[in-house]
Symmetry: C2
Subunit: 199 residues, 2 copies
């Protein structure tokens, strides 16, 4: 097809999607054009608005098109519980998987001095202000158990200690459906050490 036809522009533009190479982009373009133009048009409209309007919640730093996200703006959420996650996607995942009714705080990453990610980038001052000023009784750390994640969790635990706030961490162990045979030894050791009474 010609050098810069609209079709080729569409195929090129689709490559911004994660994991989409030239062949998938072609397949998606033809699929939309031949079978779902309404869906494509709707996606284009919503995407155009979302890329401009969605920003960070001024209170918990998750993604939202408002100043305050729906969770922070909801007076029914328990203000005494604060769950700390790395990414906005984890807020969505926890909301869908659990019946947690407290609030969230999104770090946006993990401490990683070599990449220039320190306490400021993770909003820890903002977090500390909340720990100081709000009636938070428990912080739940839902942070990946990597080296950087542990350093991040450690720093938050120290700050929470200044205000006498209890800090918990989500459980580590064998994932559902995971086979012990294929589990890494670190997780296996943690799961063993963290064993519980069978009721």
């Amino acid at each position: 097809m010609g050098e810069r036809s609209l079709l080729n522009q569409l195929i090129d533009a689709l490559r911004c999607l994660p994991g989409v190479g030239p062949k998938s982009a072609r397949r998606i373009a033809f699929y939309l054009l031949e079978r779902d133009r309404d869906g494509g048009a709707q996606l284009a409209r919503v995407m155009a608005e979302a890329m401009v309007a969605i920003r960070r919640c001024t209170r918990c730093r998750t993604l939202t098109e408002h100043d305050l996200c729906a969770l922070c703006a909801n007076p029914q959420r328990d203000a005494a519980l604060l769950c700390i996650v790395e990414q906005p996607s984890e807020v969505v995942a926890l909301e869908q998987a659990t019946d947690y009714r407290g609030q969230y705080f999104v770090l946006g990453g993990r401490l990683s001095p070599l990449d220039g990610i320190g306490p400021d980038e993770l909003g820890l001052n903002m977090l500390e202000t909340r720990l100081r000023d709000e009636a938070i009784t428990e912080i739940i750390l839902a942070i990946s158990p990597t080296v950087e994640g542990r350093a991040t969790a450690q720093l938050i635990t120290e700050r929470a200690a200044r205000y006498g706030i209890r800090v918990t961490r989500i459980a580590q162990g064998v994932p559902l459906g995971g086979e012990l045979e294929y589990l890494d030894s670190g997780t296996l050791a943690l799961a063993f050490a963290g064993r519980r009474d069978v009721v």
Copy 2:
């Protein structure tokens, strides 16, 4: 997150993409919002235009935003050769894979009376007009070797015969990298029957 937040609307809208379920949609949405807003905005712009402006070429029925596609409008393409394919995506695939310099005709499907796809739906009258009026010397059938594909090829071959036009079919056989052990017996028989001298 709230019931109809813009973020959730984006996640829902992304599900119109082929093979994208709720989890992939979430991953794509967060990827675009956190790492490639420019790409997302560009995709939204191009997609909005493409869904409205791209239609069928009035001559070969491939997809284009013009009356005539770039290939039909190109006087350098050999008007004596006409390659017949099922889908517009196959025009792109052949253009990228071969050095074919002739013209194309896109059927948009295969004969399938049960699905209401007959000669009219495939544009065979339009094709016959071209066979009659243009100086076509060879028709190249690039149609899937399925039952419906063979019936379609048969019908086109009959019409071409009326105008004394030579009809060829792209070769069938073992695909590159294909292992004979796993090849279906029909293809194996075809490949065996179609053997050629080793030069």
